[in-house]
Symmetry: C2
Subunit: 420 residues, 2 copies
């Protein structure tokens, strides 16, 4: 079928003709279709059997353009292939932690996947101060499985290069390169910020040492092909409830630095922490939830580091450092030390990429709803100034970071005397 | 034409039928063909018009296997495409510094290129203590042009990713990953070394800190996709004379760390320096040539660093740090400082990759002719022990290297009291 965008009038017929859909729908007589936005990249529809509402799917179709940034960005529809490929890989490596993919039509740039009816977007739950008792366990497993098993620690050299060659993704990579690492820190029409933090924004833009550090992290982002990263793993890309967690929307996926994904998760939780200076006026309630979030950050890193180490030790099938390489007296201790050395470097890179991502959210194209949903600009500025200070310190102090408590300590120091 | 290996009886006809060859040969009546080996990867023939001997070409055809390492390594014939692509890119970016490519037949895995009749392999010239007054200028230009103009400093993000996607080269990359960074430092059948340095080889193999450092450099080699590197730029891949320099055999080319190529050149010159403890018994003659080689190493780095900086400043068309990023008071000084910071990091990486390459040559599959051509094993061991010591120090001290004189200083310190 040649590419053409579907709409609410044509989707039910399309669904009824896909053989894969008989596994989801008991019949096609009472399908209802509703469009739900997902931003500027795609058409997204929910298709439901009104006679059996538990039977429903998400149909996602790429549009051949992206209208954002005040300009028209041409983007090939290939991104739906990247998203589907990444989802299938995530389902394979981290089963139960990504939505199931039922069908994919490459010519139509269209995928049909599980409708997560019982899940909510994490960003919204966090602003509502919800607790997610299994999240640290789930997300650390997702990170370890999706990253370790696509890295040179597990795949052979040729396997990894051939897999990476299916994720060129040069257009969406450029979006992140521009919008995370470059444009926010220079004149660019799409940038926007709270006018009350204009002085802090200008200070970032004109700080030579900070600009050089951001460039170093951009270089790593552009060139360090360590593993298949999600590359947009903020709390808006996580749907969950108290029992279950799913990572969605991996269309930016490519072979990049492992720490970029880890940094995205941790930094978004800290941004949410800061947002409660606006959202949660009761100080006891606020401090309690903020403390919960810092514990979550510590848990995620600690579990990530432990699982990464254990998974590597048990599955050292890649070619970076084969088991035979460590066959010498003391070799097993050396391998253990090397794993810790590698994970320590990941923590420092996490601080670097996470630090940049604090800054970009305060002054770039895409602000973060946790903060923009604070209506009082003064209160919002309290959180934003803190985000800029914390981001700068995570980035600039990254090479002396030795434990997750160093990163949490920066948050605690900068927020020790907040007056609102 | 379906793939079939050519031989001395079929080549003249093949040449006569290629339209491209009328530019080289005035007629095809008196073509003579002689096979010349290039190792284990390819068939290589010289085709000459005996009626006009200046008219000649090299015909190079890939075989579908590589017999080395005591085992049979399957290798696709794709490597001829990689070599040709890289040669064409080198001709475009560094004209006059690579052999010209006249013709390429992908189905036959065959390329026809300039026969460098007036050039010699550099390794042989260096053992014969020849001087090459333009080499530092030529090779530094080759390095800067081939590396800078294929990096994110010059290409846009998408241009660079799409170019990199044409150099997957997963099979030859694995060869270097195994034979440079892994197998020499563990039990592997193909390893060989001078029995007189067995103790030093075992010390390398069982040194935990050294093994971890080698693994870090391997990680960089496997994942840091900075630019189109030659990836085998030793002095056997350089043909030259007093006036002219050509870099040949780039079939290992892929997007890797810039410093790997720089390190290969410098480290091979130091290996040759050490070989003169065996080749040049007259101490005045030896010291004079060794001093010439150290000056050459200093010149190459100094010219590389200067040209890299100037080329970047004048051609900052890539997306790592666009000019607009530096538009703030003091921004031009910050950009200059960032270029120096980047080049300083390249020097440290050069020490790391170069250091590993010293070690692999002493204990891996491919020893270096400069040293293996020393018949007296005792004399050869003098040079080999020094190579291991220098390689270890370049690698382990890389993060405190501040100038090329630090690397040269290590050579001078380790060779201050050589007794032969």
């Amino acid at each position: 079928m040649a590419y053409h965008p579907l709409d609410e009038t044509t989707i039910a017929d399309f669904i009824a003709q896909r053989p894969s859909m008989t596994k989801v729908f008991s019949d096609f007589e009472a399908l209802s279709v509703s469009e739900v936005g997902d931003g500027n990249l795609n058409l997204v529809f929910i298709v439901q059997n009104d006679a059996a509402p538990a039977e429903s799917v998400i149909l996602k179709q790429a549009l051949p353009y992206l209208r954002v940034a005040g300009d028209s960005w041409p983007l090939t529809r290939e991104r739906m292939r990247y998203e589907t490929q990444a989802l299938l890989k995530h389902n394979e490596l981290a089963p139960g932690l990504a939505p199931e993919v039922y069908d994919f039509d490459e010519a139509m740039s269209l995928a049909i996947m599980e409708n997560l009816r019982e899940h909510e977007i994490m960003r919204q739950g966090l602003v509502a101060r919800k607790h997610y008792p299994h999240f640290a366990d789930h997300i650390s497993t997702f990170l370890v499985n999706s990253l370790f098993f696509t890295s040179d620690l597990y795949l052979t050299g040729p396997e990894k290069k051939l897999l990476a060659a299916t994720f060129v993704n040069e257009q969406l990579r450029k979006l992140q390169e521009d919008f995370v690492y470059t444009n926010p820190y220079m004149e660019s029409d799409e940038n926007n910020w709270n006018p009350l933090v204009a002085a802090e924004v200008q200070a970032v833009r004109s700080d030579p040492a900070l600009k050089m550090a951001i460039a170093d992290m951009k270089l790593a982002y552009m060139t360090h092909a360590e593993a298949l990263i999600h590359a947009d793993l903020h709390t808006g890309s996580i749907m969950l409830n108290e029992r279950d967690t799913r990572v969605i929307d991996p269309e930016f996926g490519f072979f990049g630095p492992i720490a970029y994904d880890v940094g995205a998760v941790l930094q978004n939780l800290i941004l949410n922490y800061l947002s409660h200076y606006g959202h949660t006026p009761d100080s006891a309630e606020r401090e309690s939830y903020q403390s919960y979030l810092l514990d979550m950050v510590r848990d995620i890193w600690t579990q990530f580091a432990r699982k990464f180490d254990e998974t590597w030790h048990a599955n050292n099938h890649g070619e970076l450092v084969p088991d035979k390489y460590w066959e010498f007296p003391g070799g097993q201790q050396a391998f253990a030390a090397y794993r810790q050395h590698y994970i320590h470097r990941l923590l420092q890179d996490t601080a670097g990429h996470g630090g940049v991502k604090f800054l970009r959210r305060m002054m770039g194209i895409v602000n973060v709803w946790d903060l923009t949903s604070i209506e009082d600009l003064e209160k919002r500025a309290v959180a934003e100034r803190l985000a800029i200070r914390i981001g700068r310190r995570w980035l600039m102090e990254r090479k002396s970071v030795n434990s997750i408590d160093d990163l949490i300590g920066i948050v605690q120091e900068e927020t020790a005397d907040v007056s609102i």
